[in-house]
């Protein structure tokens, strides 16, 4: 894609947007609900195409993609979209105009919801595919076009290198810009957004897990470890909802959780193997594992690891900030009590996406309050972390509202 073609595409989107806003109320939402219903159906051709095309494009194993889509899209349907519109009280003409999306990462669900959201508020979408996922945006655009030709004219998925400043400039000419990615990427886009344009930022986030004494014994341990292992293994731990650290009340309980997690991650590797890993990520994993091996040999930590580096669990002696190489590498830290969980999680406060927590019984209300105070927008039981509802307000400014310039937005720049 070159800048001229991109400009022409943007202008066509602007024109189609006029027709979109003029159409009878409810037509667009109906079509978008049908689109989402199709994505929610495991037998739909869009789901099947995505499940087929995503593994070779992203490196995820086919089993991981199937399981990830099954879990995440189970509740994402037309009814959920109508509920979201109701909750956020957005109209079909509330959008600010053609919305440029800078998509990121290799997980398809954020791309799906980000591409649908502007259309719900009557704004055309110009989506730049993430380098790591060239597949999803095109399929989402095609699925929208199939459900409604006019909406199809209002959405375009484009690809160009992020360093192509001329192409980036064309996207930045849109009145509304959604930037997703690392904090550095988002900052680089922020620096270039023209005055008066509306910018919505989705920067770097991560997730944690916390287990209380009620789930770290007997059958409960086995069950919670299986669910938590799934949260860790899904999307090879690359999502913002993938836990990188597990805080467990009690030293013995932490040891038991680490051992059980290792067993479950080993079992998952057989059923849902980790995907391919690029040399840089493999190098980071191997360095962290070897470092843990050194510490384990001296009795400082306990290490459970797959011989081929497909997963690793490190039982740490105390809560601390340590490297998280992802790709199914998790650290387990003992904590004293629920209050200690919040203390241990506090260094991550600006970046928290979710916390999978269970087993705190009488302390759970206080823990939830403390974790919410840290800014964790999602607190849920283990095993459900990777299945946020459609209306999950990841960055606190609304899925739809953020695209309308309402007072709760990040604001114009």
């Amino acid at each position: 894609m070159n800048p001229d073609a991109l400009r022409e595409r943007r202008m066509r989107l602007d024109d189609a947007g006029q027709a979109l806003r003029a159409r009878p109320k409810g037509e667009s939402l109906d079509a978008l609900c049908r689109t989402l219903d199709a994505w929610s159906d495991p037998e739909s051709r869009w789901r099947k195409r995505l499940a087929q095309q995503l593994p070779p494009a992203t490196g995820f194993s086919p089993e991981t993609v199937q399981e990830g889509l099954r879990i995440a899209l189970a509740q994402w349907n037309g009814a959920a979209l109508r509920e979201l519109v109701k909750q956020e009280r957005c109209t079909e003409t509330a959008g600010l105009g053609t919305t440029a999306l800078f998509l990121a990462g290799s997980i398809p669900m954020p791309s799906l919801v980000q591409m649908l959201a502007p259309l719900v508020v009557g704004a055309p979408v110009l989506a730049k595919s993430a380098a790591r996922d060239p597949v999803t945006p095109g399929l989402v655009a095609a699925s929208i076009a199939e459900a409604d030709p006019l909406l199809g004219e209002c959405v375009a998925a484009v690809q160009f290198p992020g360093e192509d400043t001329a192409c980036v400039g064309e996207l930045l000419a849109c009145p509304c810009i959604v930037a997703t990615g690392s904090d550095e990427t988002v900052a680089a886009i922020r620096d270039r957004v023209p005055a008066g344009a509306h910018l919505v930022e989705h920067g770097h986030r991560l997730s944690l897990a916390a287990l209380g004494t009620d789930v770290t014994r007997g059958n409960a341990l086995d069950d919670v470890a299986a669910r938590l292992a799934l949260d860790i293994a899904l999307w090879d731990q690359l999502g913002c909802l993938s836990p990188i650290a597990v805080y467990v009340v009690g030293e013995h309980a932490a040891a038991a959780v680490a051992e059980a997690l290792a067993e479950k991650l080993g079992a998952l590797e057989a059923r849902m193997p980790r995907g391919s890993v690029d040399p840089a990520a493999a190098n980071a994993f191997a360095q962290a594992r070897a470092e843990a091996e050194m510490r384990a040999a001296s009795g400082m930590v306990r290490l459970y690891a797959d011989p081929a580096d497909a997963w690793a669990v490190v039982l740490e002696p105390a809560a601390a900030l340590r490297p998280a190489p992802l790709h199914r590498f998790v650290r387990v830290f003992p904590v004293v009590d629920a209050a200690d969980v919040a203390r241990a999680a506090s260094p991550y406060a600006p970046h928290l996406a979710g916390i999978a927590a269970e087993g705190f019984e009488s302390e759970s209300a206080a823990l939830n309050t403390a974790l919410r105070a840290l800014g964790a927008p999602r607190i849920c039981p283990p095993g459900t972390l990777q299945a946020p509802p459609l209306d999950w307000n990841r960055d606190g400014h609304g899925v739809l509202r953020s695209l309308t310039g309402s007072p709760t937005d990040t604001g114009a720049v």
Partner: protein, 368 residues
Amino acid sequence: MSSDPRRAELDAKVLEWIEEPLWGTDDERFDTLALALFAFQFEHCLPYRRFCENRGRTPEDVQTWVEIPPVPTGAFKEMPLHSFPADRLAHVFRTSGTSLERRGELHLDTLALYEASLLVPFQRFLLPDLHTDREPLIYALAPSPAEVRDSSLSHMFAVAIREIGAEGSRFFLSDGGLELDALLEAMDRVPTDRPVLLGGTAFAFVHLVDALAQRNARLELPVSVRIMETGGFKGRSRSMPRPELYERLEDALGVSVDRIVNQYGMTELGSQFYDSILREPGAVRRKLAPPWTRVRIVEPASHRDVSAEATGTLVITDLANTGSISAIQTADLGRSILEGFEVLGREPGAEERGCSIAADELLDTGKT
């Protein structure tokens, strides 16, 4: 020298190799020394012995230097890794990092071998035109060891200045700032009849070219001048891709790109690796390993050698590391080029190697 006779003998043999006038690859000699050193370090460094035993590797099982288990650089942040009694500790070099980060430490009981292993490659790769009657002038864009005693980069420049530097060689970074006026004055009367080395961190050079641009100053340094830069930009206020830095250095100082050398080194190693560009002008730019070192490029999980020119983890065996651990698994990726290699950087999120940051923290907080 070490008080342990076995260690002293190993030190002497490595030192002898380092100081030989002609460099030649001698695999048998390397293997013999590496295995002897492994046996010694296995015996005297308890954390390393436990690590090796966990991997099922002991001096009895290891048949060749390739099988010696490498220690990840991160382990130097976790525990003291030395092969001498703790009460013989004479010097500690620390990796760069912020006060909140753990810093890796290289513990040494003697500086003799360490200094020899840094000085010889320094001369051969940076000063191949050196003559005995024309000592090089060395200008270091780094703080002196008096200011940062635990910086291996500052120590390297200090040793070079002490051993081979001409009168007038000095440090130009002090009290948190680049002494720009003094440096410009020195550059103004830079000699043409002897080698001149301008060395420092990449970040210091960025400061220099920025400062020159602010003054609209442009120098045209003679061909006697060469530049050595090292380190990365992690966490720094300013970063610049290496090709852009070299272009700006050429433009601002008049030093052509083929006289700018990157050094790859790390606190955990005694020896450093330099671009071949001054030693082999016109040949492909690559890092060349001194004969007492070996660089393997391996698949990260299996540690098997990658195929030719494929990207992999750099694993370095440095016989000059007699007092600590000789086999190191770096956090850097690299690739083979001819008989040498190139460093491709490190994984996202990992901490930068090298000494750039310690010196740069001073620059960030101080005057420029």
